[in-house]
Point group: C2
Chain length 470, copies 2
């Protein structure tokens, strides 16, 4: 409801950010009102684009005084509607996109919240380092959003979630004060570790305007393999063997079940099946090392030879060139797109303890097959983190709308199972608008109350990203 | 002031924990009133030792209702007086010492807060895993205390601080409710990550009664080297080369300056100098790997050969046996004890960005030498984390009391420098009683206010570990 923001407040805000920082025409605001899948649409009175922490602080101060809701936005690439405004203003971080400092000796980089992830990766690369956060949206998502949502991605197994890549933060608090926690220290036990309050809070406790990120040594050896397996238990068995043999060299361990493999084969122009026979499951393994002479391939060969000898791995290819490794990765990369031409898809982003992945796959598949006879189960994901993207594509030839109308019923079954197995109903995508009901349903009263206690004490005027997360 | 706790409250508490959980005689309470260096002594009405989370919750509920202060204690091994009671009761976690579950496939272990660290290390070892937290007090410190103080230690460089080794927590809140956050998931983006509030909070926000810890693959290859260096810049240069060449294989990189090396040579019966000439600085390097065939020694040899060729490393020994590696480590291990016979020592536990360690060493040495002419600067520590134990031993033959009376003046100079260099005045030891004034002095008003906001909202009755940290 744009009309709920008084003109005097809008004028004051516009004075702070100037013409370059102000959007209030319909066309200009449009990309800030919808999210990428157009599942939600919001409204706002203006999109405010401060150029600095100081401007951001002033904007928030004005909004707090007038109790005008603020929806922070980064690249607006999230999948749960966390950036969709419900009145008030949108605060876009896009102009705060400077890399403030790079310290290759300390293995740190200080960046502003609006920096695009790919820009940060490149800047790390330029000084011979690696910033390991990597995800599909990296060309447009912003680090402030990545941290506010504690983004995951392919390399969590090795480097952790976005949370684990942060040493310090600068945050504009919901009352407009600035917390300068931009420390670049590996060890610092001086009071509560406040940064973790803001990381993953989806902008409900303040706006991350800058961060000190951890860098890692650049990669100088990389090996990839695709392994064919007959059942979920073999997937876990292989994972454990590879992990125990390779330790940190293991950067990714992705599982793909037959159905998404077939979808990708059918719809991807660049993918081909490296095996002669079809198999129920595949594991895509990546090992990396900063040491060129680390004998990675020998280690991988030994583990896979043993797995085939022990007869739980059915077949395996190890890439012998960078090009071949890239080709193996296309299988994983093309799954998301390949689901689209197959019609409606009911998606779940869940995690369970790694040891229970096989049990989850069997029980959840059973639940889906009973819920929608003929539905096609699409299981893939980061087995090494216990994170499964567990989707159901509609039966061939079914009516998409009728199928999608079953979404809640289907999801309910999967999420109840996840809860029973002490898993998570949102492993990496967060809560946003989309999963608030699930949060309320599955979290204990004590946990909900703790979260509300924190929210109320930090955002006393109740303006920050209202209607999201909590 | 024990008399401030009404007898009716004491009776109710005793009813909850029974005879085995109750200590109120002078001799029994004594070890709970002092800390290991006897710098502080407190008072309490009783030491209450609940046997379970439920008993702990009931104890806290009673104390909250009567506003009786609670001082939580683990192994009482901390160095900043964080466990010294100021009236009220001591709550000892010692009887909650069960390992609830071990899941080697998920690489997790669920332990109660009173488990001794060494017991946890052994239990991990028994299932072929590593729990990497390791520190001098590991034979008696408890994991609840380790987490409440975010303990550091030798292997932080590779595995992070205690905080980084936790997936989930169970906490008795200051009102006696239990927050069950015992999740064993690698990925879980469902709301605020509350566990980080309690880790490092030194018991001021609740009592950690159980935790899910991360395990790692056991180590199957280990290499150690001692390198002689001529100046602080060479120490950093060598660190960067080893880190970039070895990545995660680098488990420890410890610096030792000449003076503590000499102290250890003089006072340790088991240590000998492996070099013919004396050198101003030494680096003790450890590489480890879960892979036996990882070519660690070749990598280390290559880096060190190059460093000697480039003339900034003066000499080096690589251990050729486990026994020799142990001998190299004695140098580092014996430094603490070796300072004692040399008289008074003014200690600082500081960190700076790794890239600024040489600058810190030069400037801080200068400050100390001016502050106390003839004072002997003892610099050693975890250079790989930017964490320096930077102490001043009294001048030879000086009066110890007169020297120690200068502690505050000396520390002030070091801590001002650390603040100017954006470092930390307490890298791993925490705040406790000892460093509260420093916290108030060096933290911004905004940060102090944020911490108090959190404290007041969670501990509304103000009973948890009063007078510590904040």
């Amino acid at each position: 409801m744009p009309d709920t923001v008084p003109q005097s407040v809008l004028d004051a805000l516009r004075d702070v950010v100037g013409r370059k920082g102000w959007i209030d025409d319909e066309a200009g605001m449009e990309p800030h009102l919808v999210e990428r899948r157009s599942l939600w649409r919001g409204t706002c009175a203006a999109v405010v684009r401060p150029a600095s922490t100081e401007e951001t602080a002033r904007v928030i101060e004005i909004c707090a005084a007038a109790r005008v809701p603020v929806t922070p936005q980064g690249g607006n690439t999230g999948g749960v509607g966390g950036g969709v405004p419900e009145g008030g203003i949108v605060l876009s971080a896009a102009r705060m996109n400077h890399i403030r400092a790079v310290d290759p000796l300390n293995h740190t980089m200080t960046v502003e919240g609006g920096c695009v992830l790919a820009t940060i990766q490149e800047a790390a690369n330029e000084v011979g380092c690696l910033f390991p956060l990597s995800l599909a949206a990296e060309g447009s998502c912003q680090i402030g959003g990545n941290l506010s949502t504690n983004a995951g991605g392919i390399q969590v197994l090795r480097y952790g979630n976005a949370r684990d890549l942060v040493l310090g933060l600068e945050v504009v608090l919901p009352d407009g004060r600035v917390w300068d926690g931009l420390r670049s220290l590996r060890k610092n036990n001086t009071g509560y570790d406040l940064k973790h309050l803001f990381i993953g809070a989806e902008g409900t406790l303040g706006i991350i305007t800058a961060a000190v990120l951890k860098l890692y040594p650049a990669i100088h050896a990389r090996e990839a393999a695709l392994v064919a397996l007959s059942d979920p238990e073999s997937v876990l068995d292989l994972f454990v063997r590879v992990r125990d043999a390779c330790g940190d060299a293991l950067t990714a361990f992705e599982m793909i079940s037959r159905m998404p493999f077939d979808f990708a084969l059918k719809h991807s122009v660049r993918m081909r099946d490296p095996f002669e026979a079809p198999h129920p499951f595949y594991a895509l393994i990546e090992l990396t090392s900063p040491r060129p002479g680390g004998a990675l391939r020998e280690t991988l060969q030994a583990v896979l030879a043993r797995a085939i000898e022990d007869e739980f791995a059915k077949d395996a290819v190890i890439a012998t060139s960078e090009a071949q490794a890239k080709e193996l990765w296309t299988i994983r990369e093309d799954i998301n797109e390949a689901q689209i031409p197959e019609g409606g898809s009911i998606k779940h982003d869940v995690s369970v303890p790694i040891s229970r992945v096989p049990e989850f796959l069997r029980r959840a598949t059973d639940i889906l097959e009973r819920a929608v006879p003929g539905g096609r189960v699409i299981a893939f994901g980061h087995v090494g983190d216990g994170n499964i993207h567990f989707n159901l594509s509609q039966p061939e030839g079914a009516d998409t709308d009728a199928f999608m109308a079953e979404s809640n019923r289907v999801a309910h079954g999967v999420h109840d199972l996840v809860a029973e197995m002490e898993g998570s109903f949102s492993a990496e995508h967060g809560i946003g608008l989309h999963k608030r009901d699930l949060l309320k349903h599955y979290k204990s009263d004590v946990e909900m109350d703790l979260m509300w206690t924190v929210k109320r004490s930090l955002d006393a005027k109740s303006i920050m990203n209202l209607g999201k997360l909590l």
